[in-house]
């Protein structure tokens, strides 16, 4: 069963054609990495999946719901689709643990004791149990991003979206975040769609790699195939440039 399905999707920002004829299917449990030069539409694409961006044409089916249908309740979908952002977007007015507990309390009406237990468990898993009562402003970037991941996991989503989760971090922070992400990919059956420039992570974790440029999907192949011999010329060029760095 597919978790995410794009059918002939088109997206415009005014006159700018941001996504062109996107057709893409991601099965439940798959880990897919989305790469491409900046401005290629990767972020736009991932943001459409939980409705932060609207599409203008085509069909986008997530977890069985058609997002383009105005009758669809976005809140229902977002319950099952978590997202981790480039700039973390932690709630500035809440402590670390409150950041994690808020949505389960308001949306899932999770029992308070249970909520706290799960939140602490998650904090331990990302290695930040001692920061539970700090404000986000007291954390480093890498710590913030790990809290953001814990916050998404607390909703027990079926699908998790990562929008360049490490590109705003100092190099020495990246490892910790990637480690957490890899653990999630390995020990759960969660669907993951990751926009990243970390080729090492892609190679190690992804089932499939999708290459985008100019709002189009140019290559969609298995990880092994992609890194060995991409069929698309631009993908080849991109890979060689990234490898040189």
């Amino acid at each position: 069963m597919s978790m995410i399905e794009f059918k002939d999707v088109e997206k415009y920002y005014g006159d700018f054609h941001a996504l062109k004829d996107i057709n893409l299917k991601i099965d439940a449990g798959e880990t897919v990495v989305l790469i491409g030069p900046s401005g290629s539409g990767k972020s736009t694409l991932i943001r459409t999946v939980n409705g932060l961006e609207e599409i203008q044409e085509g069909q986008l089916i997530v977890d069985g719901f058609d997002l383009h249908d105005p009758k669809t309740d976005m809140n229902k979908i977002r319950k099952n689709v978590g997202m981790v952002f480039q700039h973390f977007n932690l709630y500035n007015n809440k402590t670390v643990i409150e950041n994690i507990m808020l949505a389960p309390r308001l949306v899932l009406k999770r029992d308070e004791a249970e909520n706290k237990r799960i939140a602490m468990e998650l904090l331990e898993r990302v290695g930040l149990a001692d920061k539970a009562n700090n404000m986000p402003s007291a954390l480093s970037g890498g710590q913030k991003q790990r809290v953001a991941i814990a916050r998404s996991l607390a909703m027990k989503p079926k699908c998790l979206l990562f929008d360049e989760p490490t590109s705003a971090l100092d190099p020495e922070m990246i490892g910790d975040v990637l480690k957490v992400m890899r653990e999630i990919a390995e020990d759960s059956d969660m669907t993951m769609l990751v926009v990243t420039h970390e080729m090492g992570f892609a190679k190690a974790v992804a089932d499939r790699v999708i290459f985008m440029a100019d709002g189009q999907i140019l290559e969609d192949s298995s990880t092994e195939q992609f890194f060995k011999d991409p069929s698309n010329e631009r993908a080849k060029k991109f890979l060689s440039q990234v490898a040189n760095h």
Binding site: N50, G51, L52, M74, N75, R78, K79, V81, G82, M83, F85, H87, F88, N89, L90, Y91, N92, N93, K94, L102, A103, L106, V107, L108, A148, R151, S152, M155, L161
Partner: protein, 213 residues
């Protein structure tokens, strides 16, 4: 000072009505202002248009005209005293300015806060109420404070419609004692008792908030 002693009960009762009108209008305009700020920011054209129209209307029309409208026209249909008419007008007028402050506050909050909350599964309303608005109000405190000071000063509009407030009583005392000079100075001191602490409190808060940044 003999004037004050002679008419002190008038001054005190006027002060009470001014305080009452200010407090009622404060609460009402805060609620209305927030509501219209949210309307202005709505993605639906109709709602945002409605919000904008409301704010533009009340920002660009004199408070006195609005007050007279309630007092002379609306009161024909819905019976109300000058005090009520004045306080309603004051609330609506101030709410347009508060809407602008709150709107600016909301816009100053990083878009990521809303997106993070939405992606986290919160509904738009929940995200607004629990995450964005509390932060927006904090940012808006200095400008909200200024609006509250203006509100207290503007409550003098009640004098035009028999609103029994400080200014109304001041006019009465000035007209019957003919020591206009002293009467109005006493009225001024009463207003300052309300507005000066607010003003200095706001300055203090503003400096502290700037220090935090």
């Amino acid at each position: 000072m003999t004037i004050f002693n002679h008419y002190s009960s008038l001054f005190y009762s006027g002060f009470g009505y001014t305080l009452l009108a200010s407090l009622i209008a404060l609460v009402a305009s805060l609620v209305l202002g927030t509501l219209f700020a949210l309307l202005q920011l709505s993605k639906k054209r109709l709602w945002s248009g409605l919000g904008n129209a409301y704010v533009q209307f009340f920002r660009n029309v004199p408070l006195l005209i609005i007050t007279l409208f309630f007092y002379l026209a609306v009161a024909k249909v819905i019976k109300m005293t000058g005090f009520v008419a004045g306080t309603v007008a004051l609330s609506l007028y101030t709410s347009a300015f508060i809407a602008e402050s709150v709107r600016a506050g909301i816009l100053s909050i990083d878009k990521g806060q809303m997106e993070g909350a939405l992606a986290n599964g919160l509904s738009y309303g929940q995200a607004m109420r629990v995450i964005v608005l509390p932060q927006a109000f904090k940012v808006a405190i200095p400008s909200l404070g200024n609006q509250f000071i203006n509100l207290v000063k503007n409550s003098s509009i009640l004098a035009f419609v028999g609103g029994l407030d400080l200014m109304y009583q001041g006019n009465l005392v000035a007209a019957s004692s003919f020591d206009t000079f002293t009467s109005y100075i006493i009225v001024g001191i009463f207003y300052l008792v309300l507005t000066l602490p607010l003003s200095y409190g706001m300055q203090y808060l503003e400096e502290r908030l700037q220090g935090n940044r």
